[in-house]
Symmetry: C2
Subunit: 292 residues, 2 copies
């Protein structure tokens, strides 16, 4: 065909993957390649795994180097951009703003003052303004999404299902406050609600309260759900092997995640870890409750 | 008058005060005495302050000695009972059930399985069934309730008031889940939500997240409110000098408490500590929000 690059379907342009920590960026890159799509990794220095990044076409960038990203991504012919992998909220000294980032600063500072949702949506907008098309990792790699039903051999009991329903209702009730996406419920009693500390620290807290005898019940379920209206292109809740380890240390019976609305990192390792710790991992539907 | 004890106004019978830890039980006892009412302290071994209990007519009881309490309280002519002072959830080995408590066991075990609210309401019912009349400490000592407006010299700013409104709305939204009564909000962002860990631990968490650079904003407000439908006879939120210390360590700008719906322990010490730490303590109205 002679009409060249401008009419090439978007999906055939190489995919820019901005890589944070963990194995998820590489799972997404592999999934895109399996579908015949080229990938270019933009590995975030300090977060992305250097050894694994070597196996892909890649460029190192620092958090904040917006101009550098835009220049290289355009040279590489990328338009679609995926943000994936964990980046624990960088403190100011970890940010290396270049000129383009400086120009976006007033907006970025406004985001930093808001909650997580504002920050993430604002970052998407900054990339859109520069002609890029941020998409969700699950759009190019649906296999990273949590399926419905059990992952591994263990299954939730009826009382676990009651705890799951309570947890889902709680997360839904606090969603509009732009707060955490997780809670721990045991025996119909809410033990912990996640806010700025993150899921791993919330699980450590439950473990600690149990060690001190401050929690009477045993077992319990970690319930994770997306915030209503959250930007699914960047901020889906994620569970991985360290979530299983944290849940086991907290003495939980299992983990429930809204299916199709959360990412499961390294599903095979997760299933093996869950079986070893004798806890269930289940994908559930977030149903609208009658009191919403 | 000749009709004797049976027609004596209830208020004139000596007040039974079941005393947990801290200075509040003695503040309540003093307030009752100032109104000319006799008091009998039932000091909980392991929680009540022995040195201070000595200054009042008192009996030592162990947590769980329901029969012993009933017998002595009847001998003393008490009918009204106040539960006051902190009793961190006792673990089973701290409970010394006597025969009467054993008989109440099936109900008590059911309560232990439910959340806090069920436990507290259930305990009230056990005392009512035995002819006692549980009342709130604030009914005999209204001076322990948080007043409206500032305690101490510092006042919340307009943006603090916005954080307070957000915190009140959040606590209201989670009230029906029988979960914590407190949250920390800074710059329109929810940093922490209290569940089983209690206010002091939630404040330590915020301090820790700040130390690690995980929270970008400075300042912030601790917002405490009663749970909707909570049993005000036993479970009003309380702030005291250690709340101020915790808020200061967490770098907060102040504390907001629903006026008339929370207890302020040692108000003079609280005001002095707040001024010293340059934080505000304010009693606010819990107004119904338009989206309730």
């Amino acid at each position: 065909m002679s009409d060249g690059m401008s009419s090439m379907p978007l999906g055939q342009q190489p995919l820019a993957i901005i890589c944070g920590a963990g194995s998820l960026p590489f799972a997404v890159a592999d999934a895109a390649r399996r579908r015949g799509r080229g990938v270019v990794l933009f590995a975030l220095r300090g977060w992305a795994d250097p050894a694994r990044a070597e196996s892909y076409p890649h460029h190192w960038v620092r958090f904040g180097q917006l101009g550098r990203f835009c220049r290289i991504a355009r040279q590489e012919g990328c338009r679609d951009v995926v943000f994936i992998g964990s980046v624990v909220r960088p403190s100011f000294w970890q940010i290396w703003p270049d000129l383009a980032a400086m120009r976006a600063m007033p907006r970025i500072i406004a985001m930093f003052r808001g909650g997580d949702d504002h920050l993430m949506s604002g970052i998407m907008k900054v990339f859109e303004d520069r002609g890029f098309h941020p998409i969700g990792a699950h759009e190019v790699a649906p296999e990273i999404l949590m399926p419905e039903g059990a992952v591994g051999h263990y299954q939730p009991s009826e009382s676990h299902h009651a705890d799951i329903a309570l947890g889902l209702a709680l997360v839904r009730a606090i969603g509009r406050f732009d707060v955490g996406q997780a809670t721990v419920v045991a025996g119909n009693h809410v033990l912990a609600v996640e806010a700025a500390e993150g899921t791993d620290e919330m699980l450590s807290r439950v473990a600690e309260l149990r060690r001190k005898g401050r929690i009477r019940s045993s077992g319990g379920v970690l319930v994770k759900a997306p915030k209503p209206g959250q930007d699914r292109r960047i901020d889906l809740p994620t569970i991985g092997p360290q979530t299983i380890a944290g849940a086991a240390r907290a003495g939980l019976a299992g983990i429930a995640v809204v299916s199709g609305e959360a990412i499961i990192a390294e599903p095979d390792s997760v299933a093996q870890a869950a079986d070893r710790e004798r806890i269930f991992i289940v994908g559930v539907r977030q149903v609208a409750s009658h009191d919403d």
